[in-house]
Symmetry: D2
Subunit: 360 residues, 4 copies
């Protein structure tokens, strides 16, 4: 009962990896946006697995179909249903998992919660669930860009111990992020990240990382005190992404070490509006955007599925050794980039509608 | 339109620092809980200002009144309205702020959002708003403790550069936390924190910190995939607290540096149920509690109001120097402890009701 | 968990007849409305018991206090908490009801639902709960009137078999409605209604009635297909009022007997906009207002508490005779008038905000 | 932003008549229900057009596909997405409506609300939107029947001036309702209704009617005071159905004419529980079910699309004559029967989950 997110711009996702399809219904988007499947496909292609090895024909996988809400290439203001078929339903593939819950996976908790042992394990905990988010987010993103000039760019800022240097947040673009498969816009760091990921894969292990995101041209005044503060909704949105373990806005955890005299962002005059000289606030004060770029970071854990043998127990508590077969992502952060962008777009879109509701 | 939080256990807070009262309405709590004002007052006393200097008569300030929802000392299952009067409404006190927005405060963003310049500045951004949260959280906390044995303890784990050592999460108690006004259960660290806070106050500056929290005996199966995952709701709840800048669950940002082979929590048999040998997951897998302790941390920035002069601009963009007068908290984390506990209790209470709804 | 109503303009009511107070929190109203307690008191006075016999000093009863959300006589855009104290808490008065549930009352169902036997019976089923609705509705009503020229007038159209003739919906006013205590704006009918009510009271019985309502100057475009259609939200709002048994919009149940050629409302040109020649639609087509007056009716049952002896059974199923003591309203519809207006104002206010959210 | 209904059992519908598909996502249904497409198809077949003339191959039209939420024939507890393709998208068919809004249709109001002139007119106001409701309702209905023995039966009680006699509410079944295409379980009345509908069709006109519904074996204790009272949610649900103009529970509008001494339902002992001797309450007291059958009625207007010429104006206010071409239903009530049942099932299912949440 929680596959929906948002108050006025509301996404509902559906689908397990082993069913017919995954997708989303996006309700509340105003009418009149020019929208085609290609607009959505672009972000889905950035999310899909296997993209960087170029072994798969892109046009064949995770192809989105718009089922409703668009007429003559324009949104109607009605629910936009989007569907991506599951081409590859392998219900037999998870045999061992019927008896042994994978450590740090959702197998065990789903079974406890729902009281059933599904062949798809924690079907909604699958990375495939995020397809619906990315599709809906791509629609919101286009609406934000065309109507408000809002520009959302996420990138990989750390993989394991390798961290990107400080980047110019004004010039970062999705293009510069995608220049390297690691999705770090600093080429040298990206290369090192790619090496680390390759080494980890070789070792049949996995590694975590951090995705950063900047949202430019977000108007001041967005965010709904006191529980739907801008950063509170972002935090919920980001922590709802599979494998996310942490969220910080602006100075984040570093703020805990700082003095107020350093942390405070003095106001300055910026071409007719008030801006701030620094942006430790991350563009948000009192839960409301102040017109500066929204800047936040999301920490992701290393993927739980690894090829290395793991000593654990089965559902009956008997010792068992688990070795994952097949191909698994050794690091999720490059593919998490469009997911983070999608969730940011959904949050911002919702907050714009909620602020517009005031009629100001 | 966002002063409410929760789906089934739902709190609505109200009140500005300059109005007649602040408070909360808690709807959805099942009937039959023994509840008196003293149960709520205890946590309010831990939140109120001035408590550690002992200069104020505690029984006189922030006294809660239950207006509804309780009859003959038992909850009725109907909305519990709670009110705390504002004794000290000083509308004249903020004269300078009418013209100069305080850096990193909500003055400016509230004015942009709501289109008015209230004498109370961003009235709902005041720390006083958290009274309603703490009152409602105290009710939820008692219900969780008495009906499920759930035990929520938060503490100060860092102030500035001073960090507590690893603590035994099984034995921590509110009593041990309150043994020192800094609310760090490690006495030596607490003393150093107190020294730092005193020095910062002396310097007319402020300092940030981190509050950690452990929730014990939380049953497995709580959390609503995919958007209302346990950690996602906790993240929203915590980032909605004034001055919060970051949230992390379990391994948190440290997970980004780890390998899966280290991070994964192997299952082990624990007296008839499955437990985990380590708890990097922080008690949550796939958005659902696994029966291990829920462990998370919240970063708070240094308070924005400082005595040091700040160079900034007024609402018209003209240079101005701001110097805060009066007494202000140089560090919020000791008082944030009961707020973090309150928000955790509200999240857990809501998730229990939502899981019970399944009839399992 | 359902004491809240509305999506963007959201009221939460609280209070039982035997607690300290009843009231409401209204969240989401835009800032800047001039508001004082007198604005709210006027509608509360129209709701309160005993008003037409003039035996009570009005200024003493059901006096509202605004606790928050208003500063210097203007709304802040933050939650407006309003409270009315209960002066007359008689917990001992319901002795017999501890053992015998009143027929057609909520005593039995509340006990089944909440699992407790409260001294206040179904405390939230008390007419006193509607104080919070009327207070919140009065605020919404003022906002609608001053900002949009919306004019909501309800009146008593039938009591028992006595029905008012067709009235001019363009000239009806609250003043004309209040000209007679029966709140029927047709004086002759009102007199007959008053006679009937007196006779029913004399007979220790009660009688039902119908309240009609017209909302003028409601802009076209309000209503949220498909589940929050204008008439759907009105229906929910009205059926949530104690003792309501039916709702109809426009032609209502009479539509079931009509032919389409008669029922259809042809469009005509009305001073630069499209209007309709007739208004069988009641101002709503496809769930969306069309600019014509919103017209609806609400049926109320006869009050369940009557002086006549009733043969029933106690909670153990043993035969019992119930005779209500004290003074009870023999007919609720005159006092229901401001409640219907309040709920209509809350629905319309919410739908305006939701439509404004589209930025059109 | 209102295509969702329900708090815990939550349906989201999507689709216009001229898009690729219509459908629904049902979120919140507990895991473990045996469910196949045939279970849903049965109710869809009762809803679809053309069914009683038997000219169309049933297996070809409005065929539902389950996209998610079901695995190995059992619900997973995750969102159940269902889709019905639109076979017959005729965007060119509505040419005249581009310039002339149909009287008492949603053409005009949709244009005002959404600011666009869609080829599908008020696409979501189409009867086709109800496919999603019926599909989701069929799932809820099966769950209610199998887990709680709840039995929901709706039927046509009036068409125009022809009204069914009082029926035995204990023995009515969907089978007896479907015995005649008019869906009135009294054969003689059904025949007269069919004659009237035929005559109205012949006259190129349309006619209204009333659908009644009984829900048996609904447990006592359902309904969420004060705004989500059982009858309040039913009223919203029913008034959200296209063409609905009125709702009444139990005695309904007739209650307005009754005395309390007659209307009150005395309690009696019924095989170990309290029941009532009469059921003017319609199974609900104080907004909460009392264990007696839930009985309500919904009034539907005559369909707006008629073959008779109508004098109206175009969007520019210029006189125009409208004559609908093609085949249109002259009376909606026979097909509304499964829609009413679906909405009732969704309401009851949601209220059961909400009551179970209390853990009682």
């Amino acid at each position: 009962m929680s596959s929906s997110f948002g108050t006025l711009l509301r996404v509902t996702t559906f689908g397990e990896s082993h069913g017919r399809a995954v997708g989303a219904v996006l309700d509340g988007l105003p009418a009149g946006l020019a929208l085609g499947e290609a607009d959505i496909q672009a972000q889905l292609d950035r999310r899909r697995p296997g993209q960087s090895t170029l072994t798969t024909d892109r046009s064949e996988v995770d192809q989105v179909r718009i089922l409703s809400g668009v007429d003559h290439g324009r949104t109607l203001g009605t629910p936009i249903a989007m569907r991506v078929e599951n081409r590859d339903q392998r219900p037999g593939d998870y045999g061992e998992m019927d008896t042994v819950p994978r450590p740090s996976h959702a197998d065990y908790t789903y079974r406890v919660k729902y009281g059933i042992a599904a062949s798809s394990g924690g079907g909604r905990a699958s990375a495939r669930e995020t397809i619906g988010r990315v599709a809906a987010g791509a629609v919101a993103d286009k609406w934000l860009r065309e109507n408000f000039g809002i520009d959302i760019v996420a990138w990989v800022t750390t993989v394991g111990d390798i961290a990107a240097p400080n980047l110019n947040l004004e010039t970062l673009s999705r293009q510069s992020v995608d220049a390297h498969p690691a999705r770090c816009p600093d080429p040298k760091t990206a290369a090192r990240m790619a090496e680390l990921i390759a080494a980890v894969r070789e070792a049949k292990d996995s590694v975590g990382g951090i995705v950063a995101c900047v949202c430019r041209n977000v108007p001041a005044g967005l965010g709904e005190p006191v529980f739907d503060k801008f950063e509170a909704l972002l935090a919920q949105a980001m922590l709802s992404i599979p494998a996310a373990k942490g969220f910080e806005i602006g100075s984040g955890f570093a703020a805990a070490r700082m003095r107020g005299s350093v942390h405070n962002d003095p106001f300055i005059e910026k071409s007719g509006r008030l801006g701030t000289a620094t942006n430790h606030s991350g563009g948000i004060q009192g839960g409301i955007s102040n017109g500066e770029p929204i800047v936040f970071r999301v920490a992701f854990k290393p993927p739980a599925t690894i090829g290395l043998p793991q000593e654990t127990v089965d559902y009956q508590g008997r010792p068992a050794t688990l070795e994952a077969r097949g191909r698994h992502d050794p690091c999720v952060v490059p593919r998490a980039v469009p997911i983070v962008e999608a969730m940011a777009a959904l949050v911002i879109g919702d907050l714009i509608l909620r602020q517009q509701a005031r009629g100001r």
